[in-house]
């Protein structure tokens, strides 16, 4: 037996896979192919222009919008509401969330309130806001403010809850002041949670922006889309929806940028 040559064969590889690798060119390709099929279908006539206009027509509608100067009007109205409402909501949310995170009294008093109001779709409150703040900008900004306030509060205080107690103990053991512990340890440690809360509150804000503008506004992307729908001008409708997509992507990109800038330290 010992003299017999042993049969040798290489060990078969069976690892690998289950890892996603970036393939840069795939996404643009998918987009291009989809739009090409769409365009071709519309021109060939098997997509009715009334149901879904060709991308080129939507682009024409967009060009009209730019040339007539209406784009700037709609966009600036929307952005203004979004920026004012979101900034105010986030600032207030950060403040209240920090208080809830740090002080037991604030937590006992406010956390149940926040939990009760958070699940209300804020658009349901718009009629009330119109009564309170008028049909103009006030009610729209208030809706966005409310919509971004609650997710920020919750993200902030749960971020603070999850701060490593060891780091806080370290701060105390070196006699750092309460203020310094909050400023230099607690808040930076809660930042990842706060930023992911912002991601949520930003997309909620965009939804509320459009909804509020659809209910009552002269200008704004939501108003533009609604009007286009009422006139059956689907080319304008598609142009408006595409703008919303771009708006959402831009906001997302900004938050990614902030994460990359401020959370480099994360493993």
């Amino acid at each position: 037996m010992a003299d017999e040559p042993e049969r040798a064969q290489p060990v078969k590889f069976r690892g690998g896979g289950f890892v996603s690798k970036p393939r840069r060119f795939v996404a643009p390709l998918v987009f291009a192919v989809l739009i090409a099929i769409w365009e071709w279908g519309a021109r060939a006539g098997w997509i009715s222009p009334l149901v879904l206009p060709a991308p080129s027509e939507a682009f024409e509608a967009f060009k009209d919008l730019v040339e007539s100067g209406q784009l700037l009007r709609h966009l600036s109205a929307s952005l203004q509401r979004l920026i004012v409402g979101f900034t105010a909501g986030t600032t207030l949310g950060l403040t209240v969330g920090t208080f809830i995170g740090l002080f037991s009294i604030a937590r006992s008093g406010l956390a149940p309130l926040v939990a009760a109001i958070f699940p209300i779709p804020k658009i349901a409150l718009l009629p009330l806001f119109i009564i309170w703040f008028g049909i103009g900008e006030g009610s729209k900004v208030a809706t966005i403010l409310f919509g971004s306030f609650f997710p920020t509060v919750i993200a902030t205080y749960s971020g603070i809850d999850n701060v490593d107690r060891g780091l806080i103990r370290m701060g105390q053991s070196f006699n750092l002041t309460y203020r310094d512990i909050v400023r230099k340890i607690v808040l930076p440690a809660a930042l990842p949670a706060i930023l992911s809360g912002m991601r949520i509150s930003a997309s909620i804000s965009i939804i509320l922006l459009v909804a509020a503008e659809m209910i009552g506004a002269e200008y704004g992307i939501g108003a533009y889309v609604l009007l286009a729908g009422n006139l059956m001008a689907t080319d304008q409708l598609i142009a408006g929806v595409a703008m919303l997509s771009i708006l959402g992507l831009t906001v997302n990109w900004l938050i990614n940028l902030a994460e990359r800038r401020f959370l480099k330290w994360r493993a």
Partner: protein, 255 residues
Amino acid sequence: MDLKVQGLSHRYDDLEVLRGIDLTIRQGEIVSVIGPSGCGKSTLLRLIGGLERPTEGEVLQVGEPPADSLNPLTYVFQDFALLPWRTVKGNVSLVLESKGLAQAETDARIADVLARTRLTDFADAIPKQLSGGMKQRVAIARALSVNPAVLLMDEPLSALDSQTRELLMDDLIQLWAREPFTSCYVTHNLNEAVRLGHKVVVLSRRPGVIREIVTIDTPVPKRSISDPALAEIQQSLWEMMREEAMTADMELADG
């Protein structure tokens, strides 16, 4: 400055953790505290440094801490407790900021401790770039920067692999030889306790009481891994603890 622990007892609700601890930590002396897991070693350290309030008894500072000591009782933690968003330098400067030091003095202190812990080249690295041993050296540098009167070390080497631990132990011995510091060194590792401690305090399992205090006369810098006298002490300590370690191992966690 000496530290004097008098009649210290501690309980969490119904759980008695420490009972009647009397202990003196003299200036320039390293006191190792060993005991089976769950015997209250870390609790003892937290009580000594004022991070927790004892149920009974007290901890006294005897004499004045050095005038330039910014934080007389300073901890080194097992998990390093570094701020991951700050650089090595930033982590040290954290504990010096808002202490009313001039910028030049702060910079000088940082440069000094980074040199002593051989971290000067890594001043601008952030914790995630560092190995475990380096992280703990940063934590030691941070502790030294405030000129502590007593260093309270809570299993500082337990999160490290055995080779890194050996290296860091050499570092600690060298630091002590250059500038003797006072320290209470809590560990479950007998070898560390025997290599670093002038006195080794053996705690029993819960409720922790002092079973024995073994004094080791060989000067700390002269102790080596292969010293038979040390091996003998280590052996006898192990025999003392063996039973209890076994019982502690069999215990169910409560709750």
